[in-house]
Symmetry: C2
Subunit: 484 residues, 2 copies
């Protein structure tokens, strides 16, 4: 009955609209009434559909573990592991010098606000420019970046780069392999501070790590796929195959940002190979998780316990996500277009990348004049920018967001399949998405602990290597006492 009522009212709206100006208020009133009724019915139906979709735990889909992402066929694939060295070539440096010289003063546009609310401001850009132009020493930085052993090996048709760092003094110690997975706009550079801490013995622990830190396909020194589809769970397969190539059938995993998503997929697809999963971005990305937190706004304390201030007021958080997700929206839809400017403009690339480090390390940086830059060693940030620049890989890295959207259904399916792998979460003070343990347990029923840090932000391993490495040691100690 109600639904039948709609069309006639709206048609009446059409007829009325033309002539009777006086009636427009009454007309809108009637339409509002209908909207309320129809809306309630629609919402009830949607809720029912929604609700029933949550109950089933899907079966784990079968995946082809040898999808070929490269140009050639797999005939005669070279499975050797080759040493690799990072190079900042003379021609790149010359090209950069030319670009910096061609950079016009007019390119810099005065900021409207004294802070960073419109994005990277005039003075921050000036500091980045000056640092790059006058302080950044290519020679010593490339030496710094080559301090660890770099390798390349072909996995599923792609030359995949990784660093492999073995501990030096292993007397009476068990050496356990640990896969470190970076995110976006990060690179293996995020792990330079944490690697020595993880590969050095600590008196409290009878083990030490051998670290394997790959560049994701399409990022930095790893080749990009020549066809669509290499999304996070496909990257999970590539990295698992890489670990097998290196000789590690079983290993621990640490990840943050997209590295968390990939690590989570490895734990879901290969639960018998992952000895334990440590995440610095512990998130259950399922729809049920988000909806629960949204409805939890009615009683934040009941849902979030000691995380109340980090999750609520929920509308504030939503506004924050909306404001901070423009880059994500663009990259998920037109990565190649914005990529053209970022591949061509060194300062554009630096600003685009560094903005994320500034804002996601502490959201309050947005309201400061220098955007938080002074809290960083700019050279550290520039290393990461140079890694993207020298490899011309920003566009292929952006495409990962597009692949995630194109393969959204499978991502959602995998996020609602629990993994048995023992899991440990590290929440930094300012990380973007925070969830209480009971929600994490829907995805990670063997969540053994979460640590709440009183410092740090989204790029935890980069920013707080001491705290993160301690937490990883603690987690692995715990994991190793659990029987599978």
């Amino acid at each position: 009955m109600h639904i039948e009522y709609v069309p006639s009212t709206l048609v009446w709206g059409v007829e009325l609209g033309g002539g009777d100006k006086q009636g427009s208020k009454g007309e809108r009133h009637a339409i509002c009434k209908v909207i309320t009724i129809v809306g309630a019915v629609v919402v009830a139906v949607l809720f029912y559909k929604f609700y029933s979709s949550f109950l089933a735990t899907p079966d784990l889909p079968e995946f082809d573990l040898n999808v070929w992402w490269g140009r050639n066929t797999s005939n005669g694939q070279d499975t050797s592991i080759r040493p690799y060295r990072i190079l900042f070539s003379d021609s790149m440096q010359e090209n950069l010098r030319r670009k910096m010289e061609a950079y016009r003063r007019a390119t810099r546009v005065k900021s409207l606000e004294d802070d960073s609310t419109y994005g990277i401001n005039y003075d921050v850009l000036g500091q980045i420019f000056a640092h790059w132009q006058f302080k950044y020493k290519y020679g010593s930085r490339v030496k710094y970046l080559n301090q660890y052993n770099h390798y390349i090996t072909n996995v599923q048709g792609l030359d995949i780069h990784f660093m492999r760092i073995k501990p030096k003094n292993t007397e009476n110690l068990k050496v356990v392999p640990l896969l470190l997975i970076h995110g976006w706009p990060s690179s293996v550079r995020d792990f330079y501070g944490i690697i020595p801490l993880l590969t050095s013995a600590k008196p409290e622990y009878n083990f030490v790590f051998e670290v394997i830190a790959p560049s994701l396909p399409g990022f930095a020194f790893s080749q990009a796929p020549v066809r669509p589809g290499l999304t996070t769970y496909q990257m999970a397969i590539v990295l698992r195959n890489l670990m097998e190539r290196i000789g590690h059938k079983q290993f621990y995993v640490h990840g943050g940002d997209i590295g968390h998503a990939i690590g989570s997929h490895i734990a879901t697809l290969f639960p018998n190979q992952v000895l334990g999963f440590h995440s610095s971005t512990p998130v259950n990305p399922s729809k049920l998780a988000h909806l629960t937190l949204m409805l939890g706004a009615i009683c934040p304390k009941c849902v979030a316990n000691d995380l109340v201030d980090k999750i609520y007021p929920y509308t504030d958080k939503l506004q924050f996500y909306l404001e901070e997700s423009g880059y994500l929206h663009l990259q998920s839809t037109k990565p190649d277009t914005v990529g053209i400017a970022l591949q061509d403009s060194p300062l554009g690339l630096a600003s685009y990348i560094i903005e994320k480090y500034l804002l996601f390390t502490d959201p309050a940086n947005k309201y400061t004049h220098d955007g938080g830059l002074s809290a960083f060693n700019v050279t550290d940030l520039m290393d990461n920018v140079l890694i993207y620049w020298s490899t011309g890989s920003i566009t292929t890295s952006l495409r990962l967001y597009k692949e995630s959207i194109l393969n959204y259904e499978m991502e959602e399916t995998l996020s609602s399949i629990p993994t048995s792998v023992p899991t440990w979460g590290l929440r930094t003070k300012y990380d973007l998405i925070q969830q209480p343990d009971f929600i994490l347990r829907w995805k990670y029923p063997n969540l053994v602990r979460t640590t709440n840090l009183d410092v740090g932000g989204h790029f935890a391993a980069f920013e707080k290597p001491v705290e993160v490495s301690s937490d990883i040691f603690e987690a692995v100690k715990f994991f190793s006492t659990m029987k599978k």
Copy 2:
């Protein structure tokens, strides 16, 4: 009662989550039940709030018509109208040559798909590069751009550029002033084709137009504000003051894209000065309009009549908007960051702008190899890119989106205040948002007609000058027969 039930269940969820793995399905089941109930209550409350917010037509707010946007104070403001000529300086050309030479082959990243679904593809970029480098002649183009009379005058502290073109042969004809308002990423270049058609007498009409086409503040040759707040309705005030400066107390208005929004605000704020409003993007942006079309999905034909195929299936349209609005999301939040790359990279700027022309002219272009480029005269598109480039104004143009979001409440208020100005809509075949007349009438009760074109897209005046100019003549003829 229901609401009280929630917290305990969720707390129970927290307690259960730790140990009992078997219980996780039952737990999720219980939570889903609660979510359904709580969700329905929340939605009912929201709908009620929503509903009541639609009924009141707000009073027209009072605005300061002399807000100062410039650096200096208004003391001794120069109110003269000075002639202006467009210049592509030697140093700009030299700088561009250097940038093009520094542009690395490696900058071009092979596309994953043969079409344009990931954004501007490899081959389209190659064509843009080649055209700019080898075919675009700065000298003859700047002559072309200077064919009309350009002027600058200071309005509210900003040097505002405009073209003013008077008809040549006006014997026995009434000359009526017409304000043409461009949008983003357009410029006055959009109107070069339509201007001669509007300023030439037609035998069927006893009037002809004097055209005034300004560059929006912060766009191209018009100065940008030095403080935040110059959003669309403030631009409306600036343009109305510009028209008064020129000597036109009353005038007709045509606009598309953001030019529609600004024109609509002029009609709302100054109904006695606007003789008639012609829009090539006829849209009522109020929440009620969008909600009505969304709910109309239940019976598209009842709501949309002959526009059914252009509005429904609504979920397809929403998906389309989501996919095509990444640039808008980024510009509304961090215009200054993405601006840095676009100010610095000529090819990045060209791709970013031309992508919009290609996709919004015909959405199907996304699925073609050349993105629809062959349907355009590339030189025409490049003129517009050069206007943004030579004036270094892309960042300040992007900021308009940020200002719109920052002043969203007032934009929403103004969109729910009807204007008495006679209005005429032109719907092109492929324009992005299409609304039936009865919804347009909530905002424009004096909507006298809408024309449905069987060709054209979002940039109507640029793409279809013949059709648009005919429609404007027809509209103004009708307007002039109406008594105010």
